[in-house]
Symmetry: C3
Subunit: 205 residues, 3 copies
């Protein structure tokens, strides 16, 4: 009897890269949604499509982690990373959805600062995913995402102060607060993803 060495499955790196690329799309659609004169119904439709595509990638990750014999890192970490990425997509989709359903009249202009933070987080994450294979340059990734999350936190506090300044009616405050908090949760989601990546890298080192 001979033990054959089973090659480590590389599909996971591709799937994580795919998942993160949906987030790049999502963040771009968010920026479009906030742009003056945007066709909001069309943007929402495309966001829904991106969210469905992201769902499929997540399902592919879950199916694979449940069916393969050897995984490149702990099954639970794969699962956490997959659902961590998926949660961000759901939050982005929710923001677009709320802008439509709530029929928000005026969006504070500093919302676009948060969307910019999201776009940079998404791009960094998409660039980092392929590096999970070599475990290289990951530290720069999580340090930068943590820095961006701090920036997002400061933006968030400033935006909340604007919303509660007395300038907006109570019902508008209620709507805006939901939207602003979903944006912040999405940024927090990237920090969570970066922490999972950090933990994976630490275990491997």
């Amino acid at each position: 009897m001979r033990f054959r060495i089973r090659p480590v499955d590389t599909t996971f790196y591709d799937l994580f890269t795919e998942a993160a690329s949906h987030l790049v799309t999502g963040a771009r659609l968010l920026a479009e949604m906030l742009a003056e004169g945007a066709d909001q119904i069309d943007v929402a439709k495309r966001m829904r499509e991106a969210e469905h595509a992201a769902d499929e990638t997540t399902h592919a990750i879950v199916r694979r982690v449940n069916s393969v014999f050897v995984t490149p890192f702990d099954r639970e970490d794969i699962y956490s990373l997959g659902s961590g990425l998926d949660d961000i997509m759901d939050l982005m989709d929710e923001v677009v959805d709320m802008i439509l359903v709530y029929e928000v009249k005026v969006l504070p202009s500093d919302l676009s600062d948060q969307v910019e933070v999201l776009q940079r987080c998404a791009e960094l994450t998409a660039a980092a995913m392929p590096n999970l294979q070599s475990m290289k340059s990951l530290q720069e990734f999580w340090i930068e995402v943590n820095r961006l999350e701090n920036e997002g936190d400061r933006n968030h506090r400033r935006i909340l102060a604007t919303i509660f300044s007395g300038e907006f009616k109570a019902v508008e405050v209620l709507k805006l607060k939901d939207i602003v908090e979903a944006l912040e949760s999405a940024i927090d989601g990237f920090e969570r993803v970066a922490n999972i990546v950090e933990q994976i890298a630490l275990k491997e080192s």
Copy 2:
């Protein structure tokens, strides 16, 4: 020395079925709560009792998973399923509680659509739990729960649009939004339970 085969513990199927049957009770009490002329204080009292009964079932599951040597499927899946069912009960209890504590004046009539979705989810789940033993008919279960969750999602968006239409005062909007969101979270909870069941079934297949 001889290895004896330890029979797999079947108590878990009974406990999960019991947990899901509390949810059938909870969903029925929610429907009662919304019915015209309901004795809301009495319904809330019975909901609290149902919630306590559900807590005891959950504790029995946790105690059992921590004390037995052989479990019918992964310990963490048993734990997830148990706490997933328990979370739904907490949310149903919360809805009844909020209606009382907030002294909500007028409830939008389409809330009952969401409660109907919840009742169907609860019944499907209670019917599916015994099938965890044979692993039969589970696919129909999770497909149907996912379909119901999509229906609930559409209801939710419609109800939010109603609440924010300008017809309600800001403080009432605040109350209703909380209630409506807890209903939706409860429906999401069933989807999460269905996903856990799917994952258990996939591992066994």
Copy 3:
């Protein structure tokens, strides 16, 4: 060949005790924040420092659990307990932050009942952490924390009724509700920690 018995790492007990002591500090700062004539900006600054210190303790726990070979109890339980304690600190910090950022005018006086519950939970938890080593007196701990959580729950309902009584303007209701809910989540966080401790003790017994 000889098996050497590796001594169980006791650092974890110290780290958990340290984490809980940050919560004692946090709860005390919350009480200061609510006191008449408080220098809120200074309290917020000290809360931020306490929160950073707590973060460092959490990171030390995570690093240790990922690097040592033998842990005194299941790795995932260590991780849950560490992040459970950290979540409470985040919520306390959030409360102080919201009071500042929202520029809340009037805080209902019964908020201090909740802060008192938090202080007692924090002290009990700090006293219980060293007992994880001997596994003694832990039952009294989780029973008492569960009792306090019930007390907090009754306070919470009473405070919500006050907030929604019509005495406060809609925007103030919105602010207060957030603050009150974060306080309740912090108390729930202690119950979650007590449940994790119970589960660890049950596994060891």
